[in-house]
Symmetry: C2
Subunit: 498 residues, 2 copies
């Protein structure tokens, strides 16, 4: 820019310089607040004496075009800088249907606002008190010492090789047969799910899932323009007869199932049912996408096999995993395991979305996992969350009048209210400092207005008791307000007198 100035012998050099800069400022090419080169730099660029540049800057300063900030240099000042070009666009009008749909889905899901001091039964974030910060530090320092330069430079779309290998072994230990299969590192479940939908579905396609189902997955399916066919949940998981009816329809592209700690019900699908589900998807030749991220929380020593393990050498199951819910959500790592050719396609799509997942995150997570801390952490996490879950169950029964409490454990309860709208209840509870997730966002068919999800991962016992009491109180107020007497509809898991 300054190098473009051609000096002539027509007029004093310093004046040619100041005129050139004046033109740049007045044309808008140099804008308010921009720093000019130092006098030394400019004298070097133009090959003139520094004094000549000092004179030129002095003239610009006298004209209020630039100002000298002591110790920092010369800046273009406000006074005369031209107000650039100003086309003003009405952006919301230019957003396409996809963008508008994302907006609307997000509005529905977050129509409530967290304020400082609220009790957050809406949050699935892990309890920070069990984070092993010192171990994360150590993992970081180890990895950066071993291969810092590599980690700070470009990586592969598929992921950080040692982490891929670690996770494959981890899944092999759960019985997954990796012959002909492969694994892609992603930035968490949401990315995994969104990549799979992007590769396999077209707008208008029919997909099958549990009803209720993971709200984010549901939103992504809606955003992808899919016809979502929700199959009802029974006490022990998805209803197999209804599932078969759904699978028998023409044009079903895929199914999405959460066999362990289903969100939002908290149910764990029984082993026999897992086999049944797998058999049905196999019978109708429909691929099955499995979210398996919470199975690490199983209380007993052994685990129920994930569907992808039960499928053996078959390649019909795609498994989406992540440690976010139990480990560190701030470290954005998830994975997709499945047929190697599918994984190769997913890798290309990921490449065009964000090239690859943070190498630093991948390396820190790998180092943490492989030094054996994860197993110890898991023990503590299981103990903590089991205690919380049991407290929550007992307190819900004590304080919250309802029709049913769903769940086998995990991080949350699904409460089925008795004739009360959960959004109305939420409005009341918000005013009293309690947040929860209204159940409707999990339902594929617009139902669920009478249910709510209470996550307890982030709250302590005191908050749980306070919060549940407030919810119970609000329910009674609503009932009384509508003339429903206190003891109507309180049975099963709820205690009379509350």
């Amino acid at each position: 820019m300054f190098g473009d100035l051609k000096l002539t012998s027509d007029s004093p050099i310093y004046r040619q310089i100041s005129h050139y800069i004046r033109d740049l400022i007045e044309s808008g090419a140099l804008r308010k607040g921009v720093r000019l080169p130092s006098t030394r730099e400019l004298s070097h660029i133009l090959k003139v004496s520094r004094n000549t540049v000092i004179l030129a800057y002095q003239e610009l300063q006298d004209d209020s075009l630039i100002e000298n900030i002591h110790g920092q240099g010369a800046y273009v000042s406000a006074a005369r800088a031209r107000e650039g070009r100003k086309p003003v666009f009405d952006w919301p009008r230019r957003i396409n249907d996809y963008g508008r749909k994302a907006w609307e889905l997000n509005q529905t899901a977050t129509a409530w606002q967290w304020r400082q001091g609220m009790i957050p039964f809406n949050s699935l974030a892990p309890d920070e008190s069990i984070f092993e910060i010192e171990e994360i530090k150590r993992a970081f320092l180890n990895r950066i010492a071993l291969e810092g330069e590599k980690l700070l430079n470009y990586g592969d779309a598929q992921g950080y090789r040692p982490l891929i290998e670690y996770l494959k072994h981890y899944l092999e230990d759960k019985g997954v047969d990796f012959q002909g299969k492969d694994l892609l590192i992603t930035s968490g479940f949401t990315e995994s799910f969104s990549l799979v939908m992007a590769a396999l579905t077209n707008p208008g396609d029919r997909v099958i899932c549990e009803n209720p189902t993971h709200n984010l997955a549901l939103d992504i399916m809606k955003l992808s323009g899919l016809q979502v066919n929700g199959v009802p949940m029974r006490e022990d998981g998805i209803d197999p007869d209804e599932l078969e009816r759904a699978l028998a329809q023409p044009g079903v592209k895929l199914g999405f199932i959460m066999p362990s700690y289903h969100n939002p019900t908290g149910l764990v699908m029984a082993p026999e049912k897992r086999l049944k589900v797998l058999e049905l998807f196999g019978k109708y030749q429909v691929p099955l996408v499995e979210e398996g991220f919470n199975e690490e929380l199983r209380h007993s020593g052994a685990h129920v096999s994930p569907l992808i393990a039960l499928a053996g050498s078959g390649n019909g199951v795609v498994c989406l995993g992540s440690f976010s819910k139990i480990l560190f959500p701030g470290i954005r790592i998830g994975w997709i395991g499945g047929d190697a050719r599918l994984i190769a396609y997913l890798e290309r799509i990921k490449f065009y979305r964000n090239i690859y997942t943070s190498l630093l995150d991948q390396a820190v997570l790998y180092e943490y996992l492989q030094n054996g801390r994860f197993q110890q952490y898991l023990k503590r996490a299981k103990k903590l969350y089991r205690e919380k879950y049991e407290q929550a169950l007992a307190l819900a029964r004590q304080y919250i009048p309802c029709r049913r409490v769903w769940g086998d454990g995990g991080l949350h309860l699904l409460i089925e209210l008795d004739g009360i709208d959960a959004r109305q209840l939420l409005a009341d509870c918000c005013a009293d400092g309690v947040l929860f997730t209204p159940g409707d966002i999990f339902y594929t068919d617009g139902s669920g207005a009478g249910s709510l999800r209470l996550s307890v991962s982030r709250v302590d016992r005191w908050e749980m008791e306070q919060g549940f009491a407030i919810i119970g109180e609000a329910i009674r107020r609503i009932k009384n307000g509508t003339g429903v007497s206190d003891d109507v509809g309180i049975h099963q898991n709820a205690r009379p007198g509350q």
Copy 2:
């Protein structure tokens, strides 16, 4: 799973247990390699004596159904475990058009393979020797000490607040007026570009860019099904007359421009041309997406204003930035600056793709930037890359017979060959251990077969000289092979006698 066993008084307890587990194994519900609960755990779960469980496990072991691995516990053994359900899918057939297009685009772009020891003129990765590993360590330790628990837990889709504020100030220092504008943190340029395309375009829409243009942006536009209208580049940037002709067509959705260190030509758009471009986009009311990531490499002390700064209080420019090319690509951080309402939409779309960008990356980058190391790093990086660029220019002129060398600086040169196909040349050079990027991938109209991009960020002077000599030699071989004499078509930037 084990808790589901209902014990009766019909037969010995240990046998009921062993039969139950045998059924689980033979049905496939417990698969090969799965660890059983320890005898202590199972006795606790079933409320039986530990000896009973030991007997049951002994029986299973005798039947080769499980095996004891010393010190680790009992595992389901291979012998009898059932080979789960096996539907086998032909996955490539199930991939949709989008996935197939991603595959094909990627194939074209990466038809060559890097092998150990090759000279990588295809890589834009920064020179690792200038990475400040110690400073990154310090930044990490500082941030994790200050707010480790927060960083490991959930973050906001828009980004880590301190980094957003830092980047806003950084851009304000370049003259950007943030009134009515906002900033979204992304996982790098590719994500930024892909989000903007996702929010604003529909398949079939017309978009304008420079020809040649950034190959990844071009691929993403093709993947989005857009009609890409490339406007020719002149010696000083995009041709304004051709640009106006393109803008005057009906249905132009947006334009994409790289005003600084244009990829692949390395040109920097002159200040007057920037104003002209802005005026034209304003006149036709077409929004302009600007990639500005390399402007930090400007050799003079002052910078040319980015287009979004020149636009003043107008909101027609969306600016995509990143420090990846000059700082640490392994830390995946980019940003989108623009109209606040547009940013809000983009944030929702990002939310449904990966929730948010790694908090750890964001916090480490923020800490590194704000402690002032960035400015010092930048000085060293500028000096290093300027030297490399000048060496590259001199060596290219010395060794590579060609029609033209494009570029004003930065990290790469674009070489226009004289009647030689760059893919053929690449095949020859690959065999001799030299990689470069064939120019055709940057062109919107299938042209560019006679050009190649040489990136010099990652190579030293010795490699540069070796590599350029090999390329020159290969060119001469091809010419001789096709009967073209050595001195034909060598003019302008190339030296005679080469």
